[in-house]
């Protein structure tokens, strides 16, 4: 009646409190030894051993069917685990793609053989996935990808190049987007297909791209006549655009879209000895923003559970969420005098050092701010 978007309230009951406590108890010994720089990476940090430990707790693929190694727990339980881990700065990247995206994709579109052979490995935290979407000429304009999948006997031959592929150098498999259609007059969203690609395939080369923080997360991935068997076509040939878009409502509304800098806040609060009015206001605003974002995120989860696809709402949450998390290093700088020294001995400075440099990527990854606002505007009928 009063809004073009739906954000019906959903609240997590206190029935999940024991699970929360279990996650907090699990993470505490790690947090005690991780440096500020390390936990500032939170879900973007790769730590395979840690992912295996999370898997051993049953917290990867926890909503999936038991026959694939899952625990058949609810999306709300998963949400509790995920938000607790991210808020504590846990490095989730080694299993994050598999848990959040690839697993659900394979369950929806993968063959039974693939599900049985790969899903248990995701659940245990042993298998790492990357996603091959962007190309040198296809960033925000994703539908313009040119890397080709050519039908050959028994499978497809892949040629082309992916770029900005996070974690490709540590991944076992990629889900890659390729142009399989040959009709030049077809709309560019048609003719795209998703493939499961073994990163050890012959003809596949991974080259590192160092980012501005000095770290290696991104890669170029080159395909020179890489063969993938027919069984590794995910979903229908030419249907990938629809398959990719349907993942986004989930991907864009999760706690990783607004909690990336959360670790700074408790440290900031503890550093404010005699908070003045400005400090109180700013902390209050940050708290209120976060509470409201979380309400919005939970509402979307509730809608997804009810079988809806709130794509506009999800774009809106990601845009608000990214803007929120991006402001947090600046909030710290506003309220305390922070030197540009990055000292492991000063945990807040160490975390701030990483996050100040890392936040520009938040409104780029997973759909730029401009793309998201375009989606929202389209939803408004503009």
């Amino acid at each position: 009646m009063t809004s073009p978007f739906n954000f019906d309230p959903v609240s997590l009951s206190s029935a999940y409190d024991p699970l929360r406590q279990e996650v907090r108890d699990f993470i505490k010994p790690y947090r005690d030894i991780w440096s500020g720089w390390k936990f500032a990476h939170t879900w973007g940090g790769i730590d395979k051993e840690f992912s295996k430990a999370v898997g051993a707790k049953g917290w990867i693929g926890m909503t999936w069917p038991k026959k694939y190694g899952g625990a058949e727990r609810s999306q709300f339980e998963r949400y509790v685990v995920v938000e607790e881990l991210i808020a504590a700065g846990a490095p989730l990247a080694a299993h994050w793609v598999g848990d959040r995206q690839t697993g659900p994709l394979l369950m929806r579109y993968g063959s039974e053989d693939i599900r049985q052979s790969l899903l248990p490995g995701i659940v245990s935290g042993e298998l790492t996935f990357c996603i091959g979407l962007s190309e040198p000429g296809s960033g925000s304009d994703l539908a313009s990808v040119r890397s080709k999948a050519e039908k050959v006997d028994g499978g497809y031959r892949l040629n082309g190049q992916k770029i900005w592929t996070s974690g490709a150098h540590l991944s076992d498999f990629m889900i890659g987007l390729f142009r399989s259609g040959t009709d030049k007059d077809a709309p560019k969203h048609a003719g795209l297909s998703q493939f499961l690609i073994d990163m050890r395939s012959s003809g596949l080369t991974v080259r590192p791209i160092t980012d501005l923080t000095g770290e290696h997360h991104f890669n170029e991935v080159h395909f020179d006549n890489v063969f993938v068997p027919d069984a590794h076509l995910i979903g229908e040939e030419g249907n990938a655009w629809k398959q990719v878009v349907s993942e986004l409502a989930f991907e864009r509304s999760q706690p990783d879209r607004f909690l990336s800098c959360f670790v700074l806040l408790p440290m900031l609060i503890d550093r404010l000895d005699a908070p003045d009015r400005l400090a109180k206001r700013r902390v209050g605003e940050s708290f209120a923003d976060l509470v409201v974002l979380r309400e919005m995120s939970l509402s979307i989860l509730g809608q997804l559970e009810a079988g809806k696809v709130p794509a506009q709402e999800a774009a809106l949450v990601k845009d608000l969420g990214n803007s929120y998390e991006q402001k947090q290093p600046a909030l710290v700088r506003e309220l305390i005098d922070a030197a540009p020294d990055i000292r492991p001995s000063d945990t807040l400075n160490d975390a701030l050092g990483y996050l100040t440099q890392s936040v520009p990527s938040y409104s780029l990854r997973g759909g730029t701010r401009e793309i998201l606002r375009g989606i929202i505007a389209k939803g408004l009928g503009l």
């Binding site: 009063t2 959360f262 503890d270 902390v283 209050g284 608000l320 503009l382």
Partner: protein
């Protein structure tokens, strides 16, 4: 869906239809010039909303804040020129201390006056919204550290008109030893802040409602207005500004529903802090974007936009500003320490 929900939805729909049909810029202007619309008020009263939050034992509907949140949004959506939200809160507050509700509109003062030993009230409550058009004014008065709610007959009070952003009737209300028509002591934990919080929750919802009206207004205008040979809605700069406006409208609505839920859970101050902190900033940004999109025409008296943007500026400050509530919230959060932060955020 519970019966309460169905009743609440029905009331919200009826109110929406009534206000859609009745409220025009002319009517808003009339109220701003001191001509109260008694007919509209009677129709609103007939819907039963003034008694919505009053328990059934006092003859009310026994609904909660969450139940009526949609109605509160509707009040903001139409910039309804009646003190309906204000009255329903006053009736609830009076019922909570055993006084029950009264007929007609009630304004509420936020300042603490003094309650004398003879039972008369003395002092001034500044800037009481709607007081000039309400038969009753509810005031806070203190004696020996004990706060009381005092229901006063407006005709017995001295009113000095005050101009506000909304231009709706408001006055400094002075009591020179007038005895209340009804009085009750407030519970120990009920402070002036608690009183403000009730109205801040209302204004949070009104802000969300007003933004939900401004958004389609801007969209329609952007589609119609042609510059450089095309509708300005085709310009990416305008599209992105409107996307931001939509985001602020959505966030303020979620903040309002959250605040109402907290009010039902006995945490009205927490609801007000979070709600107004978020919605107050949405009001600021939303008004800014709307005026930018509308250009010069939106800056005129003739255009209806200012009836909404001036109310956004009113509501973000009328019962504690977003800055004030943010400061109170931050003070508590900082005092609790860093370790308490995350548990506080996820507390159900």
């Amino acid at each position: 869906m519970s019966t309460e929900n169905e009743i609440a939805d029905l009331i919200a729909q009826q109110l929406d239809r009534l206000l859609e049909a009745e409220v025009t810029s002319e009517k808003r202007k009339a109220v701003e010039e001191g001509r109260f619309d008694d007919g509209l008020w009677s129709e609103c009263e007939a819907l039963g909303l003034t008694a919505a939050l009053v328990p059934e034992s006092f003859g009310g509907a026994g609904l909660g804040w969450a139940d009526i949140s949609a109605s509160l949004l509707v009040l903001g959506k139409h910039a309804a020129p009646v003190p309906l939200g204000e009255t329903l809160i006053a009736n609830r507050l009076m019922s909570d201390v055993g006084l029950g509700m009264v007929e007609g509109a009630v304004a509420t003062g936020f300042d603490v006056l003094s309650l004398q030993t003879d039972g008369a009230v003395k002092g001034t409550a500044n800037g009481v919204s709607w007081a000039p058009v309400c038969p009753h004014v509810l005031l806070l008065a203190e004696r020996e550290g004990q706060l009381h709610l005092c229901l006063m007959r407006t005709v017995e009070l001295t009113l000095d008109a005050v101009q506000t952003f909304s231009r709706e009737p408001a006055a400094d209300v002075t009591c020179n030893g007038v005895k209340p028509v009804a009085i009750a002591a407030l519970a120990g934990e009920f402070s002036q802040t608690t009183l403000l919080a009730h109205f801040a929750v209302l204004h949070t919802a009104q802000i969300a409602g007003a933004l939900s009206h401004i958004l389609p207004l801007c969209i329609e205008y952007a589609r119609d207005r042609v510059q450089f040979g095309r509708p300005i809605a085709k310009f990416q700069a305008i599209q992105h500004a409107l996307a931001q406006l939509a985001s602020e409208a959505a966030a303020s609505q979620v903040a309002a529903v959250f605040a109402c839920g907290k009010a039902d859970a006995g945490a009205v101050e927490y609801g007000a802090m979070v709600g107004m902190s978020r919605a107050g900033r949405a009001a600021t940004l939303g008004a800014e974007i709307a005026h930018q999109v509308f250009g010069a025409i939106g800056f005129t008296d003739e255009h209806s936009l200012h009836y909404f943007t001036r109310r956004l500026w009113q509501w973000r400050s009328a019962a504690g500003s977003e800055q004030w509530w943010s400061e109170k919230l931050g003070e508590q959060i900082i005092a609790a320490g860093g370790d308490a932060l995350w548990p506080h955020i996820v507390a159900a």
